[in-house]
Structures are given as structure tokens and as C-alpha cells.
Amino acid sequence: MTKNRKLIVPAVLAGIVLIVIGVIYVAEPAGSLPSFFPGHEAGSGHHHVKHALLAFVLGIGALVFAWFQTGPASRSA
């Protein structure tokens, strides 16, 4: 895997943001989500667990990607 140190900070930020989004999806019902969130439904008490799970997985994926970018310079794969 080619290493690109410039991607570490954006990937970490993206990971944190996605995990926070996941927490919001778990904590807030669809009616209380910010209106720009996918799944926002005024007055709905439904919790978007699938959206939360997706955000968590993508967030962890971004953090793992960042972790690999911090590794030693790659030998040719």
C-alpha cells in the first residue's frame, strides 16, 4: 500500500466526524436529527440504527487507513 502522510490528518478528522455522526444517530430519534442528516423525519421517534452502524464502520475504516499511513515507508508490494 502506497503511503501518503498528507492523508493522515484528513483521514483522522473524517474518522472522528463519522464516529460522532454515528453517536448522534444512536442518541437522537429521526425527528431530532439535524435537518441536513439523511433520515431526518420531523416528529419521528425512530432511531436510525443502520445509519449509525454505517457511520461507525466508515469512521473506524478511516482511522485504520490513517493508522497505516503512519507506518514505515512502503517496500514495493
Binding site: 500500500m1 452502524l53 466508515l58 475504516g61 485504520v64 497505516f68 507506518g71 514505515p72 508490494a77
Partner: protein, 290 residues
């Protein structure tokens, strides 16, 4: 009275277990069979979805246990790569592990977002039969367009090391294409095996990769819905679901064992022909009101 009888559960379990690893769409068969048999079971019935959870979890467990040795190596490889913060060029276990991860994420994401709408849209047995024909065409096209014909030395050496030569893009492509199997009639294993062939794997390696890729996605889908099985949706279904799960476990084991041997010397072609013929016959039958 159970909404699904023990006999129906056993038949559907045997079918699900066999059809999941075979490239013939277990979901499509699960939709078509009740219609042909005149059973009052429909794909979007809550009890049937709950029943499917049990059979899928059983299938995933059997797949996991069947390849347990490989999974141990893969987990160790992933652990090593995380520790070293790199995937060493000679560490095929680590590379295979991450190829499975990057192949699973897009399919899982699409599945989470589109499973329900797609199921609602293509719930009928008639559409499943039509897509079964399409699946047959795809299998035949995969064999036609495969990068290279089978060679005698295909099976020498470590299969996982050969699979690990797939590129990241190829793994993401195969993984994403799996999502097509959300449509009843399109086979997840058919798509992944076909993708493997297009990217230069042998039939046996493509089947192996398909089974490894199937385990996390089927397992996760099942585990996510387990609460439904143990909640009120599972009332009256748990007994038949257990029978169905045991039957599915049995036939999954036999099917995987058979297919790994079968693909040492054979191709996807017979399954393509089967899907075309079965899909066509069912389409005609449904058109005449069966």
C-alpha cells in the same frame, strides 16, 4: 399454529443451505419455491424474514467453521499488519484479510441502505424468476470473458496467496458487485466468483474467495437481525427456524465441500444453464398463473 410448518422449514432450510454457496441465488429460490409449492409464504412476511435470519446465521457459522484454519491465519495477518502499520509484501494472510475487509464494507453499506427498498420492489416470484435468467446469462458471460482459461498448474501452491494478488480496486469492485444479490434471483456467490474469474483467478480460487467474502456479510446481516428472532416477531417461528437452521447448516457444509472439489476441474457454465432454464420455466409457469 405456526405460520411456517416444520416440514416447510426443513425444505426451505435445506434449499437455503445448498443454494447459498451455489451460484444460483438462495434468495431467488426461497421466493420461487413457496409460490411453486402453493405455500402461503411471501418474501416480505415478517415471520419469513425472521426465519431467514436463523438459516443465514447457520450458513455463516458453517462457512466460518469450514474455513476456520484460514480465518485464524487471516486474523493473525490482520493483527500483524496493524502492529507493524503496514502490509508486508510477503504477508499474503494480512493482504487477504484486508482485501476481505475492503470488499465487505461497500456491500455492507449498500445492503444497510438498500436492502428494504430492493426487497419491496422485487418481492414477487415472477421477478425472481426473471432475475434468475439474468443471473444465468451473467454466469455464462463471466466464463466467456474470463481473463484466462483454466491451467493445470492453477492448483499448485497456496490458494490464499494467489487470491491475495487481487488489487485493492478489484477487491472493492467484487465486494460492491455483491450488493446486486439483494435482488432475489441474482446470486451473491455467482457475482463474486464471476468477478474473481474476470480478474484472473481460477474457478477454485474464485469459489474460495467467494466463500470467505460471504462469511462476514451473511454473518453480520444475520446477527444484526437476531433480535427479531428473539423478539415478538419470532413468536411461533423459533421452533421451525431452529429446524430450518440445522437443515441449512447441513446442506451448506455439503455444498461447500462439493463445490470446492467441483471447481477444481469445472466451470460456472452448468449453473448458468440451470439458472437460464429454471428461470425460463418458472417465468412461463407464473405467466400461466401457477
Amino acid at each position: 399454529m405456526h405460520p411456517i410448518s416444520y416440514f416447510q422449514a426443513a425444505v426451505l432450510g435445506l434449499l437455503q443451505g445448498a443454494a447459498e454457496p451455489f451460484p444460483i441465488s438462495s434468495l431467488g429460490h426461497g421466493v420461487i419455491l413457496p409460490r411453486l409449492a402453493g405455500w402461503n409464504i411471501h418474501q416480505n412476511d415478517k415471520f419469513f424474514l425472521t426465519f431467514l435470519v436463523a438459516t443465514h446465521v447457520a450458513t455463516a457459522i458453517v462457512l466460518f467453521l469450514f474455513f476456520l484454519k484460514d480465518w485464524r491465519r487471516i486474523f493473525r495477518g490482520i493483527g500483524r499488519s496493524l502492529r507493524d502499520r503496514e502490509i508486508r509484501p510477503d504477508d499474503s494472510d494480512a493482504r487477504l484479510g484486508w482485501l476481505l475487509v475492503v470488499g465487505t464494507i461497500p456491500a455492507g453499506a449498500i445492503g444497510l441502505l438498500l436492502e428494504h427498498p430492493l426487497r419491496s420492489l422485487f418481492a414477487s416470484a415472477a421477478s425472481a424468476a426473471a432475475f434468475l435468467m439474468l443471473n444465468g446469462v451473467l454466469l455464462l458471460v463471466f466464463e466467456r470473458l474470463r481473463r484466462r482459461p483454466p491451467r493445470p498448474d492453477d492448483y499448485l501452491g497456496d490458494s490464499d496467496a494467489r487470491i491475495a494478488k487481487l488489487s485493492w480496486r478489484q477487491a472493492i469492485g467484487i465486494g460492491t458487485a455483491q450488493a446486486a444479490a439483494l435482488v432475489p434471483g441474482i446470486s451473491r456467490s455467482g457475482i463474486t466468483m464471476g468477478g474473481g474469474l474476470l480478474f484472473g483467478l481460477s474457478n477454485e480460487d474464485a469459489a474460495r474467495y467467494s466463500f470467505l467474502l460471504a462469511t462476514p456479510i451473511i454473518g453480520a446481516a444475520g446477527v444484526l437481525k437476531l433480535p427479531e428472532l428473539f423478539g415478538s416477531d419470532g413468536d411461533g417461528v423459533r421452533g421451525p427456524a431452529l429446524v430450518g437452521a440445522l437443515c441449512a447448516a447441513f446442506t451448506t457444509y455439503l455444498a461447500v465441500k462439493f463445490l470446492l472439489k467441483f471447481f477444481e476441474t469445472n466451470r460456472l457454465t452448468p449453473f448458468g444453464i440451470y439458472c437460464l432454464v429454471a428461470g425460463f420455466i418458472c417465468t412461463v409457469l407464473f405467466a400461466f398463473g401457477v
